[in-house]
Amino acid sequence: MFEIFGVPSQALFGQLLIGLINGSFYAMLSLGLAVIFGMLNIINFSHGAQYMMGAFCAFFLLQYLGLGYWPALVIAPIVVGLTGVLVERLFLQWLYKFDHLYGLLLTFGLALIIEGVFRNYFGASGLPYSVPDSLKGGINLGFMFLPIYRAWVVVLSLTVCLLTWFLIERTRLGANLRAATENPTIVRSFGINVPRMITLTYGFGVGLAALAGVMAAPIYNVSPQMGADLIIVVFAVVVIGGMGSIMGAIVTGFGLGVIEGLTKVFFPEASNTVIFVIMAIVLLIRPAGLFGRGN
């Protein structure tokens, strides 16, 4: 044991790790929001609810089908992603020709419905979801104790984020996607099915949220409320980073998670609000966001 700035190393690195974990979720969720916003010009307010659905999906798979964490990691994002496809086809596709504020209002309504229904059936308290056996336990690093599952969450989310970045910035499919963001009409004239691409993009973004939900289930418990307050923090993260850049969303997400963790050590009263304060400062200094390209 040793101390840094009068804080025991255990506490400091422990909070740093929690910060990284929160940062993983901020990064994955803001990435999903950015991808959806890029294609649909809609801020997906139900993103938090869909994250919660991912966690519940993992819970159901274990409860009713006996399928554990590993299958859930694949199945839940696909199932929830498909509900996203349904939402886009049933509701969102009718709104593209109107002011994009209506998309925000519609997804806000959907979030109220989803969270309300889950709260009615499962109450407000959390349901436990245990860490898979293969990831139980931890390693003593000398300066801190590192639970293996938490390390896994950070590594997996970083991998998923970088894969998404690669998919969008470095592949043919991603190039089509970016082109369709810039000018859908011309891309259609090249024979690319843009409406289908929009639908799949929404499904993909929602799937990302659900994946984050499955990863969060063993850490935070599964509860109907888990996404509601998180999504507001993620909005602040998105404002800070700007939605123009995929890499920006990832860096901002992890960075803010770490800052929040450190605040818990040095000034615990401000840990709830530090991200919002940073947002206000960024708006004063760089109104377009750290990685933004202006409006």
Partner: protein, 340 residues
């Protein structure tokens, strides 16, 4: 020149009586309603109607969607409740450590408590507004929501708000030293008066040259800028005005229910005022009033359904966005081809 057609003059608009008639109908409803249902519910409706009108000033006439209006409503409610019950103000400042600057005040009469709450809401509106108008469209909504969430956490942590308990048993007192607000019917007419002042002020603002510039910004901000208008200043003034009126509604609500609580600063409240305005009709004068009464009535009559109320609100949101974007009053106005 006498025969020359007056092409340069603005065409004389045919005078429409729709708005005065609708106003009389609304006033008649508000005078009769407390005799047929609980006056408390009608007063709740009036407070939320004013709140929704204030919100509508931004979304309907400047095109700015604020998703954090609970910040102004809730904080004004806290400040008003505190001033009416305790009075003493303690302000923190930094001098080598956290110090408190204390202004010893007795509990204030209701008119000053409401004024205090409104002033604080206006101040917060100035701060939040000058941050939020730095970004447009969808970002504006996210920024206002995030700032409101921040102030929610402050309200949760600060001592004077009473945390989870809120400020309870707020005395209503005597307004201007003569109007005893403990008397239900006096209270009702005072609340009605406050609502009407706010409502008519908003109507006046919308139909002033200032309001015309706001509408120009809503329609085409770039064009308004090119015509030489400093649109950011117009937006900020509109934001402060809207925040102050939302505060007036919140402060009045604190006296009516004798309670200020976390519910009023929570983002659910911000969502609710959006819903009321959407249901009534965005950008209509009477829409927010109709929407507020519909939603308040629904909440009171369906309160037995408890948790399902949130789900029903969500369904109304989705339905309105997909099918009734004009809202109740907007649909009626379109049907009768008038402006309401």
């Amino acid at each position: 020149m006498q025969d020359a057609p007056a092409v340069t003059q603005a065409p004389v608009q045919k005078r429409s009586y729709a708005v005065p008639i609708a106003f009389v109908v609304m006033l008649a409803f508000l005078l009769v309603a407390p005799h047929y249902t609980y006056p408390l519910i009608v007063m709740q409706g009036l407070c939320f109607a004013l709140f929704a009108c204030a919100f509508n000033l931004l979304i309907g006439y400047v095109g700015l969607l604020s998703f954090g209006h609970a910040l102004f409503f809730g904080w004004a409610s806290y400040v008003c409740a505190h001033l009416a019950k305790i009075g003493t103000i303690s302000l923190p400042y930094w001098a080598g450590g956290l110090q408190w600057f204390v202004i010893p005040l007795p509990p204030l009469p209701p008119e000053l408590a409401i004024l205090g709450g409104t002033a604080v809401a206006a101040l917060f509106g100035l701060i939040a507004g000058s941050l939020a108008i730095r970004r447009q469209g969808i970002y504006f909504a996210m920024i206002t929501l995030a700032l409101a969430q921040m102030m929610f956490f402050f309200a949760l942590q600060m001592k004077f708000t009473g945390g989870e308990d809120g400020i309870q048993a707020v005395p209503r007192g005597k307004m201007f030293g003569v109007l005893n607000l403990s008397d239900p019917s006096t209270l009702y007419y005072v609340v009605l008066g406050i609502f009407l002042i706010g409502f008519l002020l908003i109507y006046r603002v919308i139909h002033s040259p200032f309001g015309e510039v706001l509408k120009a910004i809503r329609e085409n901000e770039a064009r308004a800028i090119s015509l030489g208008y400093k649109t950011d200043r117009y937006k900020l003034v509109a934001f402060v005005l809207s925040a102050a009126l939302a505060g007036l509604a919140g402060a009045t609500k604190a006296l009516v229910f004798q309670l200020a609580s976390l519910t009023d600063v929570h983002w659910h409240m911000s969502g609710e005022v959006v819903l009321m305005t959407l249901v009534g009709g965005l950008g209509t004068i009477f829409g927010p009033v109709a929407g507020a009464f519909v939603i308040i009535a629904m909440q009171n009559y369906l309160s037995a359904l408890d948790q399902w109320v949130t789900v029903i609100q969500g369904v109304i949101f989705v339905t309105c966005v997909l099918l009734f974007r004009r809202g109740i009053v907007g649909e009626i106005a379109a049907l009768l081809r008038i402006k309401l």
